[in-house]
Amino acid sequence: MKLSGAEIVVQALQDEGVDYLWGYPGGAVLHIYDALFQQDKIRHILVRHEQGATHAADGYARATGKPGVVLVTSGPGATNAVTGIATAHMDSVPMVVISGQVPTPVIGSDAFQEVDTVGITRPCVKHNFLIKRVEDIATTLKKAFYIAATGRPGPVVVDIPKDITDPNIKIPYICPDTPQMRSYNPMVKGHVGQAHKAVELILQAQRPMIYTGGGVILGEASQTLREFVALTSFPITSTLMGLGAYPGTDAQFLGMLGMHGTYEANKAMHASDLLIAIGARFDDRVTGQVAEFCPHARIIHIDVDPASIAKTVRVDIPIVGQVHQVLSDITTLLRPQRDQLSQTTLDAWWQKIETWRAVQSLAYQPSDTVIKPQAAVEMLYQVTRDHDFYLTSDVGQHQMFAAQFYPFDQPRRWINSGGLGTMGFGLPAAMGVQQAFPEATVACITGEASIQMCIQELATCKQYDLPIKIVLLNNGYMGMVRQWQEFFYDSRYSHSYVDALPDFCKLAESFGHVGLRITDPADLEGAYREAFAQKDRLVFLDIVVDPTENVYPMIKAGQGHHEMHLSPNLTTERELA
């Protein structure tokens, strides 16, 4: 079979099992678009901005575990994609981005729509390639998918000059085998000796704490984690990225930890004498002041990326390997020795934790005149808990309220930008999820500032009939920014007021969708039910919420887990200990 470069691109994607491709055409990729036109295996989704393409592919990847695939043109097409590439990179999401490039003979001449895509994206990709020969397209794409999806996943950019895809130059195509790369060996197996040492520490622990992260979800280790947690009966907390790997409704789960984590999770971290870190990267939002971090604990750290280990916090037992493998090794070793764990010691630890939990650090002042954002999330949970439900988020207070008040019981259901914190992520990510799971209920929780960053994708939702539910917690402020200004800048609200807002209902309607505005707490449940009953329409819920609400607890910069600021409605006196 002889194919042109453009046809090889499309064929290689088909051979990779790609079903969706998010993209936007332009000069440098027109040969590829022409080849796409002449096939029907891969569905191309035309977005309205290349950032939307990358976030949509990212949402698809986070929901399915398969790499998301993007196609953009050279120059502005590629630069528009950069935010989405960096977003995926920070959260270790597998993605392959194909960008057009100017023809090889003019590379470097400041040709029309030329940018050094490989140079621009180098610091925010797992790897990238510039293809210079038609013969290299198939093997390079094979490598790209392999690198994106294995080890610690991440985005890979493949830059393809236009002349390489020329329809008149045809070469034989053979689907290449999985590449052997001497410089890339992601198949690390956790050291059994280290697992033995971990078990020793586990058996000695008096105040153990399990701290899990996105790696459990990325490594499909949710089941293994549940078995380990059940075997030990230890308390467990999770980062923002790990929510759902362990059931949020289970009593052993203490809620999220970190800057906006629960009192019980952070206090237990601070008091623990053994920390078992699983697929988490000790991010600064989690550790707070590193010098104050878990001062009494010995630390076991399981991570597939050696560079994540001891990056910010020293550890006692590093174990480099896949979560599911290392954790099942540990579980197997531990099971026959389980009764060496002192139940009385554990009971005392749990009693202590329950006193922290009794503080009810997430409690808020309910109201029947104004909708509290927390109440809006709680109600969202009540209405959707029986659905096959996915929630994507934008960035801000609404994101934190969702993480705190919507308990996720399954992995890959909570999809948000944690590492880069990219406003504009939520709506296009929801498109990717809905595309992957057409029958599922997909909602995007957002703020009136965030939603405007990729609002143009409402047109894409219309074109492809994506019945996403947009849950806008409209507080009229960049709430998260306003909160920091209230706390740290004497309430000087410099440019955090979102003025001149559109009428979101009319806006949604103009795109062909349904808009609902809710101002009265009494109407909230009905509006949700009405929206979620509309199985084939996108419904935009503009929920007007209390503009003054803050996210609590909060650990301020430079402080440790034991120095949380609680809601002024609460005092630590409620602590029973």
Binding site: R122, P123, R182, S183, A307
Partner: protein, 164 residues
């Protein structure tokens, strides 16, 4: 502490840029960096000199290992190793200074590799400290120009380091 690190990487376009980008993006310092193909023309070998606490050096090595084009990273400072750097110094060489410069060059086991009526080019090899010492013995007025290769390093003993 000062570390001298050998990095083997694919002799591919952009591979060196990845190393440079990594150092710049993560704020690691590079004192010197040299690169050339190895006996296997598909591989290049970088020798770089950097400074940092043990913790920083550990991260540098891990981050270098993470680069897809890198096949091997060895911190030579961890074992007994030999270090050499090449320097060429162009100096003012007039009158009585000429004999004096020749004498100094001999003491440092250097060579005069270019001679003119009023100048010499002197080549000196050695570890970086020796090259510094040579510079210090010359007065600023004498030196017209210097160029240094950056340090190269190799582990002592017969056993070669595998490149991947």
């Amino acid at each position: 502490m000062r570390h001298i690190i050998s990095v083997w990487l694919e002799n591919a376009a952009g591979a060196l840029a990845r190393v440079a980008t990594l150092f710049a993006a993560r704020g690691y310092n590079i004192e010197s960096l040299t690169v050339a193909p190895t006996e296997d023309p598909t591989l290049s070998r970088i020798t770089l000199v950097t400074r940092g606490s043990d913790h920083v050096i550990e991260q540098i090595i891990k981050q270098l290992n993470k680069l897809v084009d890198v096949t091997r990273v060895v911190d030579l400072t961890e074992g007994v190793h030999i270090e050499r750097e090449l320097m060429m110094v162009k100096v003012r060489a007039e009158g009585t200074m000429r004999a004096e410069l020749k004498r100094l060059t001999d003491i440092f086991r250097g060579r005069i590799i270019d001679i003119g009526h009023t100048h010499y080019v002197i080549e000196v090899t050695g570890d970086s400290a020796k090259l510094n010492a040579f510079i210090e013995t010359l007065d600023d007025n004498t030196i017209l120009e210097t160029v240094r290769s950056g340090a190269l390093g190799v582990a002592r003993g017969r056993k070669p380091v595998a490149s991947s």
